[in-house]
């Protein structure tokens, strides 16, 4: 087993693109779920708004890449209205049901054959990121940095842009939550009726929280799309939301650092487990006597099994995660 490689991969994972887009998406989800108490299970759809906003500039509109941002924001607002208008007045679990369903429908729509000329069907959209690539000061083929933090020039630009965005959004969320707006938002999470009796329009605040969190999530989708150079519908399946949620809970809800560290830690654990299992099964299935423990095609399933188990155990034994405050996590919809 090549431990050196495994450890390098693991350390690289905590600053890699996967950790970045998870951190950004988790920052958005934190506003909704951590601070406002909105159970948004459709963050993947908000991410898809961003990446399809970018992709459609080339695929459908034929305009510059940077138009993708306003288009994405427009998509986010439409999506937030679709899920928010019917559910934000109701109990928390309705929002959970509607967001998860909407996210799934969004994915089915963008991958459908009928709408292929708009969204590119199951293959998705590629060839939209030329303008972004031209801005890259690094040589795509060359390797930069020192072990274990080595990235090709192609990836390095996204890593730098990504961490800049993480820093900006972290600062923004931190400031936002210290502002009067943030205090109202947290008040809604604690006691909606009390906030309402103070004359605040709870419904409007919730909607704002949904949109702001969604816009941050949108940027996560854009980072993913720019790094991959393509937009794939199946990158936005409902499980992606749940993995981001796991990362968020791992770091600690309602804490800015929680979103970022949670995302890094999630990928460190994930990449480590993935690498070790792949090494174990590389030369055929792992066996104890006649009993096949695991074979290489099953590695993915085992990793995600651990994610699910981890989410359950975290919610049960340490709902505040690493940085959170237990009293802030006493979420109860009734």
């Amino acid at each position: 087993m090549d431990w050196n490689q495994i450890i390098q991969n693991t350390i690289r994972a905590c600053v890699g693109v996967d950790a970045i887009y998870f951190a950004v998406a988790a920052l958005g989800l934190n506003i909704q779920f951590g601070y406002t108490g909105l159970v948004n299970f459709g963050q993947a759809a908000f991410m898809a708004c961003g990446s399809y906003g970018l992709g459609m500039t080339a695929q459908y509109f034929g305009i510059g890449l940077w138009w993708g941002i306003p288009i994405g924001i427009l998509f986010v607002i439409i999506l937030a209205l679709i899920v928010g208008v019917p559910t934000l007045r109701l109990r928390a679990d309705y929002l959970a049901i509607v967001t998860i369903a909407t996210a799934e429908i969004v994915r089915l729509f963008v991958r459908s054959v009928k709408l292929r000329n708009i969204f590119g069907g199951t293959e998705g959209i590629s060839n939209f990121s030329r303008e972004y690539r031209e801005l890259n000061p690094f040589e795509p083929g060359k390797t930069y940095g020192f072990a274990p933090f080595q990235f090709s020039g192609y990836t390095l630009i996204t890593v730098l842009v990504g961490w800049t965005l993480v820093a900006i959004f972290s600062f923004l969320v931190w400031q936002l939550m210290r502002s009067p707006w943030g205090r109202v938002i947290k008040g809604i999470r604690e006691d909606e009726d009390a906030v309402r009796s103070l004359g605040k329009n709870v419904y409007a605040y919730k909607m704002q929280s949904l949109v702001i969190g969604g816009i941050i999530g949108m940027f996560a989708g854009m980072i993913l799309a720019l790094d991959r150079g393509s937009v794939q519908p199946d990158n936005y399946s409902r499980d992606v939301t749940f993995y981001i949620l796991t990362a968020l809970v791992l770091g600690g809800l309602a804490k800015v650092a929680g979103s970022v560290v949670g995302a890094m830690l999630f990928w460190v654990i994930f990449v480590f487990s993935d690498n070790v299992l792949r090494e174990l099964t590389r030369n055929g299935p792992l066996r104890f006597g006649d009993f096949t423990v695991i074979q290489s095609t099953q590695v993915g399933a085992v990793n995600y099994m651990f994610v699910g188990l981890g989410l359950m155990l975290l919610m049960t034994y340490r709902p505040q995660g690493l940085f959170g405050n237990r009293t802030e996590m006493a979420l109860d919809g009734r």
């Binding site: 108490g37 159970v39 299970f41 679709i82 208008v85 019917p86 559910t87 007045r89 109701l90 109990r91 679990d93 309705y94 959970a96 049901i97 509607v98 998860i100 369903a101 909407t102 799934e104 429908i105 089915l108 729509f109 991958r111 459908s112 054959v113 009928k114 292929r116 199946d234 499980d239 749940f242 949620l245 796991t246 055929g284 299935p285 066996r287 096949t292 695991i294 074979q295 095609t297 099953q298 993915g300 399933a301 085992v302 995600y304 099994m305 994610v307 699910g308 188990l309 981890g310 989410l311 359950m312 919610m315 049960t316 709902p319 996590m329 006493a330 979420l331 109860d332 919809g333 009734r334």
Partner: protein
């Protein structure tokens, strides 16, 4: 109290483990480990697209030109694409003897032609199927079956399909709704209880070769125990620890991810067929084509749902369940043992979900995600019927099933689920308590 809590934690671990083990053990038989070393030589996949036409009673076949074929690995990585030539063949070289998925792009078929077997749009090639270096896969197309049928016939056919889907949704959703009513829990892992039924049915029916008529009841009982295990190992304990309902909801999400991946681990990513009644010819009942198997499951489904309704309406226990579902405190004050009722509800919910899983497995096929694909329709059904209401779930399920199938007359079938979301949203705006829900504040 504190000491008791500590003890239950260590027990909890043990029991989580045991529950996992139980759910795994049943599936161990699925694993078939065969990894053949790649052999030398050039491999390729040849797709052949043939159009069938019925000429004076006999079928004639002609090659179709210009159809796009795509070969991917099982995980979705693209291997190659080809367009069929005048001989109807498209050749895609592949790097090695391996598992592949061959997909035909139906949007490139000439107008009016469809795949004869719509489920064959993607064909899975196991590496063992490479008997020579070239593997040939044939796709048959024909005039759309529905293109020739009149509108009324198409509507009736869809109605019959919709009723069957609706019965399955209703069956699965009753448990979901009752659990919600009695405990307040929105259980996102309910779909996995459906899959559990399908998986165990597959194990007994295909691996152990027990006919479904005998193995079915076993599956149903195991499904009930599985539901009971959910409550016993997880949710009863979470309640005891005073963990809020939203946190519990997140736990069900984790549970759902974990179970789905256990199924994937044991069963693999393919859809597989139950062996009993897999090959049947359509009975033509007037304009509707239905296999005897589907007719039987539909009738059984109706019988089951009617008995549930009668049970809830007439029996003492059924009344107790409805009382707890209505108002836990009040029911408890009138002397109903609410914890016992909750256990019964979990058992019944699990058993019904497993039944739904068997029916779905017979109707379509068994796959690791068969339940989680349905969960969203179940939620639409119970929201429509009224969260917590068992009758609501029955009515809502059947309505959603029919509506979804009917809508595919006008909607592409890949977007089947979209109309259900539309219903969900309209219901939540117009009448958030659902058809049969109590008109109370739910906000």
């Amino acid at each position: 109290m504190l000491i008791q809590g500590r003890q239950s934690i260590s027990h909890f671990w043990l029991k989580v483990f045991l529950t996992l083990l139980c759910s795994c053990v049943a599936g161990i038989g699925f694993v078939s480990g065969s990894a053949k070393a790649a052999e030398d030589g050039e491999f390729s996949i040849i797709a052949s697209v043939q159009n069938q036409t019925l000429v004076s009673g006999s079928t004639s076949r002609a090659p179709l030109e210009g159809v796009a074929i795509k070969v991917t690995k099982v995980d979705g990585t693209l291997i190659g694409e080809a367009i069929t030539g005048a001989d109807g063949l498209g050749k895609v070289p592949v790097p090695s003897r391996d598992d592949y998925v061959i997909e035909i792009d139906i949007s490139t078929l000439p107008d009016g032609l469809v795949l004869i077997d719509a489920t064959k749009q993607k064909v899975f090639i196991n590496q063992d199927l490479f008997t020579t270096n070239n593997k040939r896969v044939t796709f048959f197309t024909g005039q759309g079956a529905e293109a020739g049928a009149s509108t009324i016939e198409r509507i009736l056919q869809r109605l019959s399909d919709g009723i069957r889907l609706g019965l399955i949704i209703a069956m699965c959703a009753v448990g979901l709704s009752l659990v919600f009513g009695t405990t307040g829990l929105t259980n996102f892992a309910h779909g996995e209880m459906v899959t559990f039924g399908g998986m165990i049915a597959f194990f007994l029916n295909v691996t152990l070769e027990i006919p479904i008529l005998i193995s079915g009841p076993v599956v149903i009982v195991l499904g009930g125990l599985f539901g009971l295990a959910f409550n016993w190992a997880i949710f009863a304990r979470l309640n005891k620890r005073g963990i809020g309902l939203i946190s519990q909801l997140v736990v069900t999400v984790g549970l759902s991810i974990m179970l789905r991946n256990i199924y994937l681990f044991k069963f693999g990513g393919r859809t597989k067929q139950l062996s009993s009644y897999s090959k049947q010819v359509n009975l033509e009942l007037g304009p509707i084509g239905i296999t005897p198997r589907d007719l039987t499951t539909a009738i059984l489904g109706i019988i089951i749902l009617v008995s549930i309704a009668l049970f809830l309406q007439r029996s003492r226990l059924g009344k107790a369940i409805r009382a707890v579902s209505d108002n836990v405190q009040l029911a408890s004050a009138t002397g109903i043992d609410t914890r016992k009722v909750i256990k019964i509800v979990w058992f019944a919910g699990g058993a019904l979900a497993a039944t739904g899983g068997i029916f779905r497995g017979l109707d379509e096929q068994v796959s690791f995600s068969m339940g989680s694909d349905l969960i969203f329709l179940m939620f639409a059904a119970i929201t429509l019927g009224g969260l917590g209401s068992a009758f609501g779930a029955l009515i809502g399920g059947i309505f959603i099933g029919i509506f979804v199938e009917m809508s595919s007359l006008y909607f592409p079938s890949e977007l089947k689920a979209a109309p259900a979301l539309f219903i969900l949203i309209v219901v939540l705006i117009v009448r958030p308590q659902g058809i049969l829900g109590k008109s109370q504040r739910v906000g």
